[in-house]
Amino acid sequence: MSTYEDNIPTVKDNKAADKAQEKHMPGDEMIWLFLLGDMACFSLFFCMFAYYRLDEIELFRQSQAQLDVNIGSINTLFLLCSSWLVVMALKAARKGLAKYASFSMAGAALFGTGFVILKTIEYQHKAALDIDYLSNNFYVFYYILTGMHYFHVVIGVPLLIYYAVSLYRSKNISQTDVDNLESGALYWHMVDLLWIIIFPLVYLIP
């Protein structure tokens, strides 16, 4: 028969619990695998960009000068704010504050939508100037890198909206909900991180 003393956590138990807490991997294991694959591919793209850039430095500079740095900067701010709001939403969800988490997630989705709108405008400007992905090698990279990133955002925004709506409707947040949110947040942070590299690489580096 267990006594009261048996049920009191010992220092050893607490250490084990702390260790388990430390080892907790946020999100689903498979989302990490997806992020690994995605980032491995983008890393190769960045290396290829650097290689081709060295080969055609003047062409890359001239083409880069045609890009709209202002739109790129605003989009960077949008994604940073959006990522921050996702962090706030996750923190709130862990504390069981469903409404607060929902509003934060809705804000993140709003910034994500702003990114999509501005990026679409940027693509339209390029199309009006008769620039497409076949114009030169710089624009191949420009369209592939920013285009693939754009698709990631387009897929991610409905995901954020879904989270916002389901958090708003939920009365209590389960651990499974938090795990799912963590997976979504990881995806969104990767989208943000990729842009943080793409923006200086394609728009800024002189």
Binding site: D28, M30, G37, L44, V140
Partner: protein, 277 residues
């Protein structure tokens, strides 16, 4: 042209050979090869880690399964009217007079087998009907993310007048591929508990069996719309029929998965459930 004329406009079906002069921009071709194939290569170290460190053999066996499954690709390309440019790195193999590029086998490893494995892990953890539909939707979106950059830059093309194209990508492939990957996970979920010892090797054909079955069940109306002569409106309706079939299959899958939240022995669980009157 009146609306009725447009709806009844005859569409000529049938597959066409890849034009000899169809070539992609070389850089685009290389980038897309990295994109579609890179994921498949990136998972190999992880699968080895799972096998040697965790004693989990499923990812490694599913990788072999994905490679075998890629042999279906030329049949799908032929029926689904897809052309690969003549200058993509490859061919890995030839089928139906189509050169299948190097990117396809590793692409199948990730996008068929590994996404299927992901669906399996979610089913194993316990999914509701809604959860199965969300899983299906996410898988379909993964396919869209992977394919649209390729079609938008013409690294490969879906030729002809396929229904509901966005950036050159027929949306039907999103729901067809999403369903096939979900069924890969579902079949694995059903059979894996029963495979012991050398029988574990039967995990390898899970991908190709489930994917083939899925296309047989859901893709035939879409393939009809591409390969038979018919009015324009019929091609669109048949494509929508393939969506309806996909939703039906996902719902059936969800009914079974949701009935067995404790997933250690799903078939036994199914047998124990009386058939509703």
């Amino acid at each position: 042209m009146s609306l009725m004329d447009k709806l009844m406009q005859p569409m000529i079906g049938g597959a066409l050979p890849v034009p000899a002069d169809y070539a992609a921009n070389e850089l685009v071709g290389n980038l897309f090869t990295v994109w579609a194939g890179g994921f498949g290569l990136a998972v190999i170290p992880w699968a080895l880690y799972c096998f040697f460190k965790k004693g989990n053999d499923i990812p490694l066996l599913m990788i072999f399964g994905g490679l075998v499954c890629s042999l279906i690709e030329p049949m799908l390309d032929h029926l689904g009217h897809l052309w690969y440019p003549t200058n993509l790195p490859g061919p890995a193999f030839v089928g139906y007079d189509l050169n299948v590029p190097y990117l396809i086998p590793p692409c199948y490893v990730f996008f068929i087998s590994m996404t299927g494995y992901w669906a399996y892990t979610r089913m194993k953890a316990g999914l509701t009907v809604k959860g199965v539909f969300i899983t299906w939707f996410l898988i379909a979106m993964t396919d869209v993310i992977m394919e649209m950059p390729g079609t938008a830059t013409q690294a490969y093309i879906y030729y002809g007048d396929a229904s509901f194209k966005v950036f050159g990508f027929p949306l039907a492939w999103g729901w067809l591929n999403g369903t096939s990957m979900l069924l890969v996970g579902f079949l694995l979920y059903l059979v894996e508990p029963y495979l012991r010892g050398w029988n574990r090797l039967f995990i390898i054909p899970v991908s190709v069996v489930a994917m083939g079955a899925s296309y047989g069940m859901t893709a035939w109306p879409y393939f009809m719309s591409l390969n038979h002569d018919m009015p324009w409106i019929a091609t669109r309706l048949l494509t929508l029929l393939s969506l309806a079939l996909c939703l039906m299959i996902v719902r059936f899958t969800a009914a079974i998965v949701a009935s067995g939240h404790e997933a250690k022995n799903p078939i036994e669980k199914l047998n124990g459930n009386p058939v509703p009157a």
